[in-house]
């Protein structure tokens, strides 16, 4: 081989490597990234979990991740639970998601939500992709797609790019950088929305009326049973509280008979809803899903139930389980911010400011306004901002219990730039009373715009703004 040929061969190899590298990066940006919506991905969270830590798994759809919060079990008994749940998870996907988890985890208990037995593939297009494309390419994901997809679409799912390449139309920040909660969340989908018109079906009060299970239903249950025998975990079934129809309730009652036949436990939380203390006016996000308040009750019940029934180790204090600790902190951060959002006065909000976590940066922006509310003035004085300072206007930062003024509106100094993590920037300046552009978070204008006081919270745990409120 002569020199020129060798040079060309090397150039070709380098070209292929460079192209492949850029191609892989491109695919990484475009790839599917959520299982529950808005970049929250239980599969990603699973992949980020070190081997052999999960003791209890809850398998299911949105009913599961909306209704079971592992952090509640962790807080009470140190149970390392995980929601292996995906929006619209169907029967086939449930099996393969569980297989995926079992590659590197050895749970002693697996609780499977039965909602999937009532539908086939579903009708929401995004859920098809969530359930298939969130798994890393592997033999398991290949088998999943083979069983899940039609012949026509199999190739597109397998190669993924024909589906995800059009995501260039919707790329957001977290397609380029990691979404921090995926590092530690345990599969739950936190929602504080309250639907006061939610209801639960009367079917839950009826005497059990088992319907006939189809061949596919029984096959699915059998496959789950076989998995539990092969992998040595205890299999349980559950039905999360939601507005069931009579037919669905009949199917669940039939599964209950199946469970009895094989000595498996089944908990129909629909029938137990009143016993769980669920408040229909407060504990539901919509007709099909619990919200955080309902999930806390159900999760609390599960914590007691599992501890009573199984010998589950208390892992609190163990450094390897820091994700569960972070998950619990995350839950409390979200709960706290939800409370702050519900405050209808500045003084009510400021009263809660002493509960800020060390990871939460609390910004207070004051502007001199005509007809300033004396109550707000007083509340800010109690908070630590003197009246004269309020009238001059400025921005204060409370972090780790220390309050500091970081910008004075009368100083006409250069804009104050506050770096928040590697990617976020808060820019503070003063263009004038009620003007836009006084406070910008990554080019988003969060100025007071005529309000007397504004509150922002930047949460270092998740690397994002969680509160913006003005009074």
């Amino acid at each position: 081989m002569n020199k020129t040929t060798l040079k060309r061969l090397i150039a070709a190899v380098i070209f292929v490597i460079v192209t492949l590298g850029l191609f892989i990066k491109t695919v990484d940006i475009l790839k599917w990234k959520d299982t529950t919506g808005d970049y929250v991905s239980s599969l990603e969270q699973l992949y980020n979990t070190p081997d052999d830590l999960i003791d209890v798994v809850f398998v299911g759809s949105s009913h599961t991740y909306c209704g079971i919060y592992p952090c509640i079990m962790w807080e009470k008994y140190g149970i390392s639970a995980f929601d292996m749940s995906v929006s619209g998870q169907d029967r086939i996907s449930a099996l393969y998601h569980l297989e995926e988890l079992l590659k590197k985890q050895k749970p002693s208990v697996v609780v499977v939500d039965l909602y999937a037995i009532t539908y086939g593939r579903g009708i929401v297009e995004g859920n098809y992709y969530r359930n298939t494309l969130s798994l890393k390419p592997s033999v398991n994901s290949y088998r999943h797609m083979k069983e899940y997809c039609t012949e026509d679409e199999f190739k597109s799912y397998l190669t993924r790019l024909p589906i995800v390449h059009t995501r260039y139309r919707e790329l957001q920040k977290y397609d380029f950088v990691d979404y921090l909660p995926n590092d530690f969340c345990r599969g739950e989908g936190l929602t504080f929305n309250i639907d006061p018109y939610a209801s639960l079906s009367e079917a839950r009060f009826s005497e059990p009326f088992p319907a006939e299970l189809s061949k596919e239903d029984v096959e699915w249950l059998d496959r789950l049973r076989k998995m539990s025998e092969e992998h040595g975990f205890s299999l349980e079934f559950m039905v999360m509280p939601y507005d069931t129809g009579y037919h669905e309730q009949g199917v669940y009652d039939a599964v209950s008979l199946y469970a009895d036949r094989y000595g498996l436990q089944m908990n129909d939380l629909n029938r137990m809803a009143d016993g769980l203390g669920l408040d229909i006016k407060r504990d539901f996000a919509d007709a099909l899903h619990l919200n955080a308040f309902g999930a806390c009750k159900v999760s609390d019940w599960f914590a007691d139930y599992l501890t009573e029934r199984y010998e589950l180790k208390d892992h609190r204090g163990d450094e390897s389980y820091r994700q569960w600790d972070d998950d619990l902190r995350y839950f409390y951060h979200k709960l706290y911010v939800n409370e702050l959002k519900d405050c209808n006065s500045a003084s009510a909000l400021l009263k809660k400011a002493d509960r800020l976590d060390k990871d939460e940066m609390f910004f207070v922006t004051c502007e001199a306004v005509e007809g300033a509310d004396p109550e707000v003035v007083e509340a800010l004085i109690r908070f630590g901002i003197e009246k004269e300072a309020q009238e001059r206007g400025g921005t204060w930062l409370l972090v780790d219990g220390v309050l500091t003024q970081i910008y004075d509106n009368t100083d006409n100094e250069w804009p104050k730039i506050v770096k928040l993590g590697n990617l976020n920037t808060m820019e503070i300046k003063y263009n004038g009373p009620g003007e836009g552009g006084n406070v910008r978070f990554n080019n988003i204008d969060l100025s007071n715009k005529g309000a007397q006081v504004g509150f922002l919270i930047y949460d270092k745990l998740i690397g994002d703004l969680t509160l913006y409120k003005t009074y």
């Binding site: 491109t26 970049y39 024909p162």
Partner: protein, 494 residues
């Protein structure tokens, strides 16, 4: 098997690797088998027709060569042409002929005749039939010797890169190169690099530009009765872009694929929209077909050798037939006729125009004059494309009428244009792609070299940046796979 498919991405490297690794004497067989496999991927039964055409024209060539008298040579040629055109007519035009016959019968109250056949039009039949007929005529004219090696000849007819959509090759070019396969080592680094670049460019044209423009065009040509002038003008202009990018893209992939294997196919598109006249346009657009019609129809009809009237008549006939070649429908014939009229009117008015330029002191050697001619030529061509694309002749007439009467320029200012079919983002991608296309076309127009050769001659960093840019553009922005036609952010599709 489409060029823009996963199957072709696997097929082509495998065939090329086999081609370069196999012994020279086996290479033509390998390519022939690959070509038949390629063709049979569309429909296995198609192989029967292409083999029939191959055998008949192969045999005709030998018989013509062996015949002593000119009249017997002519007879064999004529029979061969009739046979092959007959197959083409049967598969492509039978329905059309029957439809029109039944319309005539209807006028006279005669019962309509039903179609006893249900033929699927074999893909590429128009191309390889013309290519094979061209060979027979070349043999008759003694431009080439009759080919005695069946494998070589069969490969000439069915060579997969140009089988289904051209370029329609001449035996003097392609057959000679096929014969050389056994003699030379065909791997050449420049050919491989420039061929690869051409293939990528072709896929970019097809998948990023043509298929994207098609979204808007399809909508406009379907709902033309409800749209205003601006949308319809956009539709016509974008169809001009679509058909160019689609066809030139396919040709580019074909030429590039052949070049990688060391075979040079003829250029099929030479920046046609930079033409300054319709006559020039037809020297730059689908060159292989234009030249085929010139050499095998226009010139045999007499060309321009029989006086002005015959010249224009021959031109008109040639363009009408060319229109019909494109499809079995009157609107294709109308498209061809429009181009024929353009040429005739252009020819007749040329002296008048020259005198006007002299009178008005128009400077003809200027950029502005050239630009104006190019714009006018483009507009004339775009106008003619309306007949080509519309569903029917009637639809094209309604389209044109609405284009000139339903005035609605506000859609450009109230962003209504983005509501037709392509969002702002998609339009932006299209605009950027067209700018790239324009830049590449300028390079080709000025330097007279294709993009593959141009990239090969440039520095390594530029070549790599261009190739990687093309690959990533195709992967990200290409129109393929499942389409999220909804603008909704599907992560919220809960």
């Amino acid at each position: 098997m489409l060029f823009n498919s996963l199957e072709f991405i696997l097929f082509f490297p495998a065939v090329t690797l086999g081609f370069f690794l196999l012994p020279k004497r086996v290479k033509p067989v390998w390519l022939l088998l690959a070509s038949y496999f390629f063709y049979m991927c569309w429909n296995p039964y198609y192989i029967v027709l292409i083999l029939l055409t191959t055998f008949v024209t192969f045999l005709s060539g030998i018989l013509i060569d062996k015949s002593k008298g000119q009249s017997s040579k002519r007879l064999i040629m004529a029979l061969c042409i009739v046979f092959n055109i007959g197959i083409l007519v049967l598969f492509k035009y039978f329905d059309f002929i029957l439809l029109n016959l039944n319309k005539v019968f209807g006028v006279f109250g005669v019962r309509a005749v039903s179609n006893p056949f249900n033929f699927l039009l074999p893909v590429g039949i128009s191309f390889y039939t013309f290519q094979a007929i061209g060979y027979v005529i070349d043999v008759y004219r003694k431009d080439v010797k009759a080919e005695r090696n069946f494998i070589d000849y069969a490969l000439f007819v069915s060579f997969f890169p140009q089988l289904v959509a051209g370029p329609i090759e001449r035996s003097g070019n392609l057959l000679c190169q096929i014969k050389d396969i056994r003699k030379k080592n065909l791997f050449d680094y420049q050919n491989a690099v420039s061929g690869f670049g051409l293939m990528l460019w072709g896929l970019f044209l097809k998948m990023v530009i043509a298929d994207r423009a098609a979204i808007f065009v399809d909508k406009v040509f379907t709902e033309y009765y409800a749209l205003g002038s601006v949308e319809l003008i956009f539709g016509a202009v974008l169809f001009s872009l679509q058909i160019y990018a689609d066809f030139a893209g396919y040709s580019s992939v074909a030429i590039g694929a052949a070049r990688v294997m060391g075979i040079r196919l003829m250029d099929n598109f030479d920046t046609p929209y930079f033409s300054k006249s319709i006559a020039e346009f037809w020297r730059r657009w689908h060159i292989s077909l234009s030249f085929w019609f010139r050499d095998y129809l226009y010139i045999p009809l007499g060309g321009n050798r029989k006086g002005t009237f015959r010249k224009y008549l021959n031109l008109f006939i040639t363009f009408m037939v060319s229109g019909l070649w494109h499809g079995a429908s009157w609107n294709y014939v109308a498209w061809g006729a429009v181009h024929g009229i353009y040429q005739i009117v252009g020819g007749i008015t040329k002296p008048i125009r020259e005198r006007c330029y002299d009178r008005l002191n128009v400077k003809r050697n200027t950029f502005s004059f050239g630009l104006l001619k190019r714009i006018i030529t483009f507009l004339l061509v775009a106008f003619a494309w309306i007949f080509f694309r519309a569903r029917s002749l009637k639809a094209s007439l309604i389209y044109i009428s609405r284009m000139f009467t339903c005035f609605d320029p506000w859609v450009l200012f109230n962003e209504g244009i983005y509501g037709v079919a392509l969002s702002r983002k998609e339009f932006n991608i299209l605009i950027v792609s067209v700018i790239v296309l324009f830049a590449v076309s300028v390079v080709k127009y000025k330097k007279k070299i294709d993009i593959g050769t141009f990239l090969y001659e440039e520095n390594l960093w530029f070549r790599w940046a261009a190739l990687i840019g093309l690959i990533l553009s195709i992967v990200v922005f290409g129109e393929y796979g499942i389409d999220f036609s909804s603008a909704k952010f599907i992560y919220f599709d809960f």
